[in-house]
Amino acid sequence: MTNNLMPRTVSSCALWLLLAFASLDAAAAAAPASGPGFSDSEGCLLCHKYPRIGRVTDEGARRSYYIMPEVFAKTVHRNVPCRDCHTEIRELPHKPVTRGVTCDTECHSVKNPATGKPFSHKPIYEAYRASVHGRDKQAKGTDGDKPYCVSCHTNPLYNPQELAPPAAITDRCTLCHEDRNFVNRWYNHTSRRIREVRRTPEQIVQLCSTCHDDQKMVQRHQQQAKVDGRPLGAKFPIAVNSYEESFHGKMVRYGYGAAANCLSCHADRKNYYLSVHEIRPSRDPKSPVHADRRLETCRQCHTRADVNYASLDPHPTSAKGLNAFRYYAEMIYNIIGNVVIAGLVGLSLFETYGRWRDGVCWRLLHGSSWRRNSRRGRDRVV
């Protein structure tokens, strides 16, 4: 009789389990924002949850389209539904994407609480487009070397060092705002801006060097500038090397973040977060490193600087074309140094040879003196 009962029990257990899973699924589908904060209300994760999802481009590059919801839920874009940025997607499964996401998209869902309007990165995007780095997402020629938004902005995690918002703070907020998840997300948003999450000075130098120290990139731009007949900054080809040789570069490398890094001079300290997107060439009068603005830029740190001080070169170089004085000074120094050393050491050795011929010698254990018999026969008597 147990034999008869078992299949029934098993199958009814299985049925219960299935129902349980089904209801969970339904619950998940029907109730957005009940988990860690990332909701898949549009069903994108149906495919994009698989680690191997991706494609190989015509050029042979591999692109991964894998999304890890538990990671994405901790990033700054976690509240933005997929299609607010990926606007080309109209159906499931969707057609191949052609234009892709550009960062000036306006969100439908996320509103700017201050203005009530849909949130957008458009103002900064436009400012960036007007700067020396500005480019389209699909850029042609040397513009392709310029950084697009995602070159620097990598959709970072909220405060990776912090595992959870501190209960001591969020307890208080939850008293009135009731929803612990809401409070935690709000805490992340503000605490990220209060903590210093900017790149460190060493990281800034490294970031800029990724391109500006790439000799091939530099050469491409020099060629292009020649073809176009437009000027390039004199220090452009040697920007990183000369900076590393300068006092500022050395201080930053030795760990003194207070010294000037690239953005300290090439971006305005006033409204810094905007001005780092508005970097302009030094010939542009708005640039902080334009000749007319250099003094005030130096004065950000060197408060007693005067016009002469501002003429000191933060990108020192010995290249002949750029600083002939230094080129020749260095050459003369090298010549003098080598001649002096060779001359003096040569004279010492010559002297030793001459004295040795007359009978001086080394006697390692008893000190040295005129003990040997010389070739010229005027020797010690005893």
């Binding site: 760990g255 030793t352 009978g359």
Partner: protein
């Protein structure tokens, strides 16, 4: 020994300045006459105490040397690892003191000490000769000031080394080698101090200098400081240390920097005119050299009384 004109002048000046009386003068002349004409023979046969026989450096000079070389080496040991920060040998030097933040401070502090030592030295080299001049005892040939004789001595010395001369020239208290080294070190120190101040006080130099050269000046100073430091180090290591530690006759160490006294042998060989002054000024030196000459039967034949004094 029959003295050359130059040597005779030196002896006469010294005797006049010391107000040597007639009796002592006769004694001195006798000793000089007893010296063999061949200075090489003389130098080879004198008995010398390696820690020094004859006075050469006052306590002030010895202190200044001690200060200079300790500050110099410390500055080199802290400065080179700062300049060549990434070099593999620099890391232990930077970290042993607690990181480059500390070596920077040590470097600047010791630099101040070096400047003070230079001031001390300047006082010595001005007040010393001034006091001598007041006492009527100043002989410019005994100072570090270069003159044409030094060039003649260099030429004669090189000829001797090449085998074309019979003896080394009669050189004075500070011969061409000391003068080269002294002025190289003085100039080097000056460059280091000035370029150091232009690093520490760039606003001052920019205020001081006209606009046209302010930037060039700073570039020159930035080049000078490490270059001059390296040059000085190389000169010290391969020229100075060779001459005071490794050269035959000095090996393993010349003691003059500690005792202030130079060996008889060295004095006769390289500073003979000063040796003559030692004979004038120090009766015990006259006795010592006569004893040595007699015991080795080297007394010059032309001396009055032949082989005996």
């Amino acid at each position: 020994m029959k003295l050359s004109a130059e040597a005779r002048d030196v002896v006469e000046t010294c005797m006049r300045q010391r107000r040597i009386g007639d009796k002592e003068r006769a004694e001195i002349e006798a000793v000089i006459a007893a010296l063999p004409q061949d200075r090489v023979l003389l130098a080879k046969n004198v008995v010398s105490n390696p820690v020094g026989d004859l006075p050469r450096y006052s306590i002030h000079i010895r202190l200044q040397h001690m200060l200079t070389f300790t500050t110099f080496l410390t500055l080199a040991f802290t400065g080179l690892p700062i300049h060549f920060f990434e070099a593999v040998w620099a890391e232990p030097f930077n970290s042993v003191l607690g990181g480059v933040g500390i070596t920077r401070i040590v470097h600047r502090t010791i630099a101040v000490l070096m400047v003070l030592s230079m001031v001390y030295h300047l006082m010595t080299i001005t007040l010393g000769p001034w006091a001598q001049w007041r006492a009527g005892r100043l002989d410019w040939r005994r100072t570090m000031l270069p003159n044409w004789k030094d060039l003649r001595d260099l030429r004669a010395d090189v000829r001797y080394f090449a085998g074309r001369g019979d003896m080394r020239p009669e050189m004075d208290k500070f011969n061409y080698k000391q003068k080269i080294h002294y002025f190289a070190a003085a100039f080097g120190n000056l460059v280091m101090v000035v370029s150091g101040t232009s690093f520490l006080f760039p606003e001052f130099w920019n205020w001081l200098l006209p606009a046209a050269i302010a930037s060039e000046w700073q570039e020159l100073m930035r080049l000078s400081h490490p270059h001059e430091a390296l040059l000085a180090l190389l000169v010290i290591a391969f020229w100075h240390w060779y001459n005071v530690h490794l050269a035959p006759g000095r090996f393993p160490m010349q003691w003059t920097f500690l005792t202030g006294r130079i060996t008889r042998e060295h004095q006769i060989e390289e500073h003979f005119l000063e040796y003559l002054r030692n004979l004038v000024e120090l009766p015990e030196e006259r006795r010592a050299v006569i004893d040595m000459l007699e015991s080795r039967e080297l007394v010059a034949e032309a001396a009055p009384g032949g082989k005996r004094r």
